[in-house]
């Protein structure tokens, strides 16, 4: 298969239509990338938040007997 364009500058210019074609690609790739990263960030933030919550709960349940030992000291 042969590329349609002879040179790289021709490929960028696309015969006066380069601005339109490339701006479409930039907008789409940019927006989709932001959306994917946003979805990933959401997931990671939730996992972090739930992990902190669980650690706190685990601490609370293990700390319950400690007041008893403190009283005896």
């Amino acid at each position: 298969m042969q590329p349609y364009f002879y040179s790289f500058s021709e490929f960028i210019a696309m015969g006066k239509h380069g601005v339109f074609v490339w701006s479409c690609w930039a907008i789409t790739v940019g927006m989709m990338l932001i959306f994917v990263l946003y979805s990933r960030r959401q997931r990671q933030a939730l996992i972090k938040q739930l992990a902190i919550q669980q650690a706190r709960q685990a601490q609370r349940t293990t700390k319950i007997p400690t007041p008893v030992t403190k009283d005896t000291h």
Partner: protein, 262 residues
Amino acid sequence: MPNLNNVSSPSLWQRIWQIFLTTVGTKEFFRIFSPWVKWLAILASLCLLIGSIWGLAFAPPDYLQGNSYRIIFIHVPAASLAISIYFSLAVLGVIYLVWKIKTASLVAQALAPLGFLLCVISLLTGSIWAKPTWGTYWVWDARLTSMLILAFLYAGVMALFAAFEHTANRGKAAAILSIVGAVNLPIIKYSVQWWNTLHQGSTFTLTAAPKMSADMWLPLLLMIIGSYLLVATLAIYRTNTLILHRDQGKAWVKEYIRGQAK
């Protein structure tokens, strides 16, 4: 035929239905589809990458529109998915309202922002394409206007999902708007036939032979397949985030979080 006299023992169909209902629960959805995300993402990226390079550099230009037609490789997949996702929101809405399957509502909630984004992308790329082709960025044409209404419907569905965060009714209002808004879909589809519009008819359908040459429609087909795979990937991933949030009090989520923290 189910035995109607014997009420106490469930019929075969009822038993199958019960088994089906347990497989569409949030926990099962998470367990079954989580491993798919990676592979679907790889496949989607491959299709989109090959399709883009092929469409941008190797496909011949259109004899009338020159190189500006290359926008078709984003515009058509984005528009087709914006419509398909809205259709799936309506179907998921019916499933949620009739059978009370919570997973359906969560999938719809995960998909709505993606559908909105693709609708906006199709409007933006369409108007950029319109400038060199029609000489204007925007006309109040039937196809363009009905597509703009679709974007507003998406915004409405998203707002309704966000509005009922802490009630048991979450998703019900959004499901109703999704179903009612689906009236717009046939209007979008047939707008180019019912009204005299600037927008061209479809060059690409599942039933008929393509009206363009193979080195134009093959990259387009790749881009469409890649976009559907990307949407599937994001739908699973985002639904699973919502499932983790919703079921955070349950033992299996706690175990999963412990596994992630290590």
